[in-house]
Amino acid sequence: MTPEELVAHLQEVDASFVERSDIQFGQASVWVPRDKWQACGKHLKECGRCRFDMFNFMAGVDWPEQNEIEVVAHLYSVRRQHHLNMKIRVPREDGSVPTLSGIWRGANWQERETAELFGVGFEGHPHLVKLLLPEAFEGFPLRKDFLLMTREVKEWEGREEPGAPGSSPRPGRVPAASGQNPAKAGEH
């Protein structure tokens, strides 16, 4: 199915699956409400027309302005050769998403990784312990306000670091007003 057909199909099956949809660069994304997250996943895997037999990977996106974390499940169908991004937004503090690990086995480790790197809980996950990070690691490294460890020790002169005090919430961009950061005030 084409991205447009995929979105239309989901809306047809259950209009409540699709909160919002978007097609960019030839990829369809659907934002699924929390209470339909698992049902939608189950449908996508089991429906003969969708046949999403492969859980490609899961990613997180930090949106500090909205104080939300977006969880993105990248689904792919080897049989049908189409791709869909299933998205859900949760609050940054104590946000949690129902687990997909009962539907796709591959979601198990992906959810552990998203949990430790972004600080999102996965309800009903059978073994939600850290996957990549050491047991005692504190903080969620892929959130925008988490500083690179080397930069924390020594500032890289002339560079604006993601998460540094006074830096723009989106990295790589110049802050809106200069002189917000007392440490860098002299440079402007």
């Binding site: 660069f25 037999d53 492969m54 859980f55 080897v78 796709w104 086995r105 591959g106 312990v129 850290k130 996957l131 990549l132 990070l133 050491p134 047991e135 005692a136 490294p141 892929l142 925008k144 988490f146 690179l148 930069r151 560079r159 670091e161 993601p162 990295p171 790589g172």
Partner: protein, 239 residues
């Protein structure tokens, strides 16, 4: 809580803990569980992995892989760099197929910026990626054989790799981390005589592949250790 679960709870198996060897009780060997750590090894060795296995005698009853020793937070590094700089980062992801990785970044940025790449650059990129892929497969053939006890294919693979690396070096200046892809095209055009040399190498390697076939597939030990071992059904792999 069973005996096994109790042991595993004692050693949750996070990276950074030392090697532990626990021999359970004083009972009979075949009925008591044992928790063993395999690894971890130094990050510069390949396939860094620690496996916490639970043994009942000589039979493995549970295995918990502990990964993460090779994760260096590229996503975070990429946040602090621009697209051109990321190209030099990503070809370290898999340093045996560096070109494929840098091409991926270039393609995705071009897609986002709706940039059109000149046809010549597209074809050169494809040619270099394919050469890199062959380099990668040669390494696989060589080192996989080595790990299963066949030493010779490694030497053969490195003989071929050396020639291809010289070819790649003539075009990109690099032997491993080529960093020759650019958003919108390439760092530079191919040097004179590249295609002719390429053609010669293709013929040579195609011919020499017969040696590999004989060395690996004709090797009794290699076959004993691979045929029918660790077979996973397709649906399981995709799931």
């Amino acid at each position: 809580m069973s005996m096994t679960e109790e042991r595993r709870a004692m050693f949750p198996g996070g990276p950074g803990e030392g090697m532990e060897l626990v021999i359970a009780g004083e009972g009979e060997l075949a009925t008591e569980d044992m928790v063993l750590n395999i690894g971890p090894q130094h990050p510069s060795t390949h396939g860094v992995l620690r496996v916490v296995i639970t043994l009942d005698g000589e039979r493995i009853t549970a295995a918990e892989p502990v990964i993460g020793y090779m994760h260096r937070g590229f996503e975070k590094l990429a946040e602090a760099r621009d697209y051109r700089q990321i190209i030099a980062l990503v070809n370290r992801h898999d340093w045996l197929s560096a070109y494929g990785n840098e091409l991926g970044v270039a393609l995705i940025v071009e897609k986002m910026m709706a940039l059109e790449v000149p046809p010549r650059a597209t074809w050169i990129r494809m040619l270099l990626t394919e050469w890199n892929r062959i380099l990668n497969h040669l390494m696989f053939l060589g080192s996989y054989g080595l790990e299963l006890g066949a030493m010779t294919p490694m030497f053969y693979a490195f003989r071929e790799r050396e020639e291809i690396q010289a070819l790649m070096e003539s075009a990109t200046g690099g032997r491993l981390h080529f960093t020759s892809c650019r958003v919108g095209g390439l760092k530079e055009d191919l040097p004179k005589g590249f295609l002719k040399h390429s053609e010669r190498l293709v013929k040579l390697i195609r011919h020499r592949l017969l040696d590999y076939e004989g060395l690996l597939l004709g090797n009794e030990i290699f076959k004993k250790r691979t045929v029918g071992v660790g077979v996973l059904p397709g649906s399981f792999v995709k799931d």
